[in-house]
């Protein structure tokens, strides 16, 4: 498995160890990109900082909390409302963002009193919210403000509030992944075990590494509720602060995004004896296996099988309609961390696309081990790519579409490669059986968009055809399909609703009789 040095990076030879091509018959013991290292000077990384990873990825999806950044307003403002981790409490955590607004004078004279005033003002402005997270930034870390001491002081003065402090300044790691790590460890050290919940359920899980992007968590909650499983906490999408303080009382940690949240699962296993079960919520087969595994753990297999059968029968014909039209389309799978391995095999097998490249902005070597194992031969795997490498890869590989973040995505559009937002989705949620069909629909619409086809023409040099009318995406996608596939009565495009999440919030679920007390699990 040869390492690969991009032409554009020949002046940065250290980059060679960050990319490999998966050759025929080769495996991850032969070559593995370096990962989770400081970005090499001279290469313009697409990464985020450790503050961003702690606050914007993991902290802020908690829904019933005032999230306050202790630093310049730009740290918070720059990512305000660009995330799509919705919540069922009217998106409080998305609508309101807080910063102490440090300025130059605070760097000189300190900002603890400024922070205290901000904390009290924020609680006064939202009297129904009694929980707060405070995030250190580069500026407040460098001047040494003691945020923990201040939080303790305020909690003593106001016993009805609880405050969590996350000391993960932007420079505190090579990428946002450093922040994931810090907030995981900070949360279990400071908060887990500080609430003892009353649990009236037989089967209790923490759903970990799930951020409710466009409703992913709510879709999965629907399955868990239909199985009679009580989700004590979600770390952290649509999750409640106090529920997360009670994580130590679950029977099982169900881990979705191991990249961002395996640390807390590992610690919960060591400190409290709660096992860690890694699952895949994306793709019919991986999701089915995941639901089944969870049900086996609790001895309620028939409940999972009923869901799998119902959902597969409902949505598989729609997935297969898209699969027929996406067969062998070339994909660059360029997400941040975990989705390269969540999706690499599932989109190939269930949607028919060929993954020609995987990359990760902030993943570790463990993510590359999973991603390279799951993609097919010939794929180019890249760690922490820069913009020029991305462009070179697209020019070489000629993908039909890429799945990535909005910054590299806009670069791709400039060279006429359509992209889907792998972090926040286009028309998600993409988790769950229906969600997987929505993902396929977004891929289909991206590749076969008539507007995209028009963009391939350059009016400064190409001849513009004037003898043909406007085409539809169906005309484009079906042009080379056989009559049999095109008119297959069993297959059809997506028939779900525009919003497939809101109705779940008022859904009634079956009540299962309590099982005999099983002391081996509780």
């Amino acid at each position: 498995m040869p390492y690969h040095l991009f032409k554009c990076s020949e002046c940065i030879p250290e980059r060679e160890k960050h990319a490999v091509i998966k050759g025929k018959g080769e495996d991850i013991s032969m070559a593995l990109p370096l990962g989770y290292l400081n970005t090499i000077p001279g290469t313009i990384s697409e990464r985020g900082c450790a503050y961003c990873g702690a606050k914007h990825v993991i902290g802020t999806p908690m829904k019933d909390v005032i999230h306050l950044s202790h630093g310049p307003v730009g740290c918070t403002y720059d990512t305000w409302q660009t995330k799509r981790y919705i919540s069922d409490n009217d998106n409080f955590q998305l609508k309101y963002t807080f910063a102490s607004d440090m300025k130059e004078k605070h760097i000189v004279f300190g900002a603890e009193q400024l922070l205290k005033k901000n904390i009290l003002d924020a609680f006064a402005a939202f009297p129904n919210i009694k929980r707060m997270t405070i995030y250190q930034t580069c500026a407040s870390a460098l001047i040494g403000d003691d945020i923990n001491a201040l939080a303790d002081e305020i909690m003593e003065e106001n016993p009805d509030v609880d405050i969590f402090v996350c000391n993960s300044p932007g420079f505190g790691g090579p990428s946002q992944s450093g922040g994931h790590h810090k907030i995981n460890i900070a949360w279990i050290n400071q908060k887990v075990g500080t609430v003892d919940p009353k649990i009236d359920a037989d089967y209790v899980i923490n759903y970990v590494g799930e951020y409710n992007i466009q409703g992913d968590q709510e879709v999965m909650m629907d399955y868990f509720k239909r199985m009679g499983i009580y989700v004590l906490s979600t770390f952290t999408g649509n999750g409640s602060y106090d529920d997360l303080r009670a994580m130590h009382k679950a029977h099982l940690n169900v881990l979705e995004c191991a990249r961002s949240a395996e640390y807390i699962c590992n610690e919960l296993r060591v400190r409290y004896g709660i096992p860690r079960m890694d699952i895949d919520g994306f793709g019919f087969e991986p999701l089915s296996a995941s639901l089944r595994k969870i049900s086996l753990f609790f001895g309620i297999e028939e409940r999972a099988l009923a869901i799998i059968d119902t959902e597969t029968a409902r949505w598989k014909p729609e997935l297969d309609w898209y699969k027929a039209r996406l067969m062998h389309k070339k994909v660059c799978l360029w997400p941040g961390g975990s989705k390269l391995w969540h999706w690499a095999n599932a989109i190939h097998e269930e949607m028919g696309v060929d993954v020609v490249s995987v990359y990760t902005k902030f993943g570790h070597q463990g993510d590359m081990e999973k991603g390279i194992s799951r993609c097919e031969e010939g794929a180019l795997a890249i760690d922490d790519p820069n913009e020029l490498e991305g462009l070179e890869a697209m020019e070489t590989l000629q993908p039909d579409i890429i799945f990535t973040g909005k910054r590299p995505g806009e670069v791709a559009k400039k060279i006429r490669v359509p992209y889907l937002n792998a972090h926040a989705y286009h028309n998600g949620p993409w988790k769950g059986f229906e969600g997987w069909v929505r993902f396929a629909r977004d891929i289909y619409n991206g590749i076969y968009s008539p507007i995209h086809q028009l963009s391939l023409l350059d009016i400064s040099k190409d001849e513009i055809p004037t003898d043909q009318g406007f085409v539809t995406n169906r005309m484009l996608s079906d042009a080379n399909l056989s009559e049999e596939v095109r008119n297959d009565p069993n297959l059809h495009p997506y028939t779900g609703n525009y919003d497939n999440v809101s109705h779940l919030r008022n859904k009634k679920y079956p009540e299962f009789p309590r099982a005999e007390k099983d002391t081996s699990v509780a």
Partner: protein, 116 residues
């Protein structure tokens, strides 16, 4: 190990590496523990033994092992047709290869980090 056993084991290895996540826990000691328990339970079920896990930890291994055993039986019909000795040879080769790919031969520099 003969070529047939090696080739059979490689098919199972490929399935695990494409479909499973349990073999990629964070650290060397976790990966060894996962491989040992899950592959041991899978092998015993393939040999026809019944496993009754009692602790939460054992149930977690067993759930992964059950899914793997069923997948092996569904996707690799040749496995069920083998006699016990051959099954044991294949499952031993599988364990050795998974240990190599994820632990002893892994190039992942974080595996020996003493902290999570």
């Amino acid at each position: 190990m003969n070529d047939e056993i090696k080739s059979n084991a490689e098919e199972l290895v490929n399935y695990i590496m494409k479909k499973c996540l349990w073999q990629f826990h964070s650290r060397t000691w976790d990966r060894k523990r996962q491989n040992e328990h899950i592959l041991d339970m899978t092998a015993r079920m393939i040999y026809g033994e019944e496993i009754k896990p009692t602790t939460p930890e054992e149930k977690c291994y067993w759930a992964d092992a059950m899914c793997l055993m069923e997948a092996f039986n569904n996707h690799f019909g040749w496995l069920q047709k083998m006699d016990r000795a051959k099954k044991e040879a294949v499952m031993t080769a599988l364990k050795d290869r998974i240990d190599f790919l994820t632990v002893t031969g892994s190039l992942n520099l974080e595996l020996t980090d003493t902290h999570y």
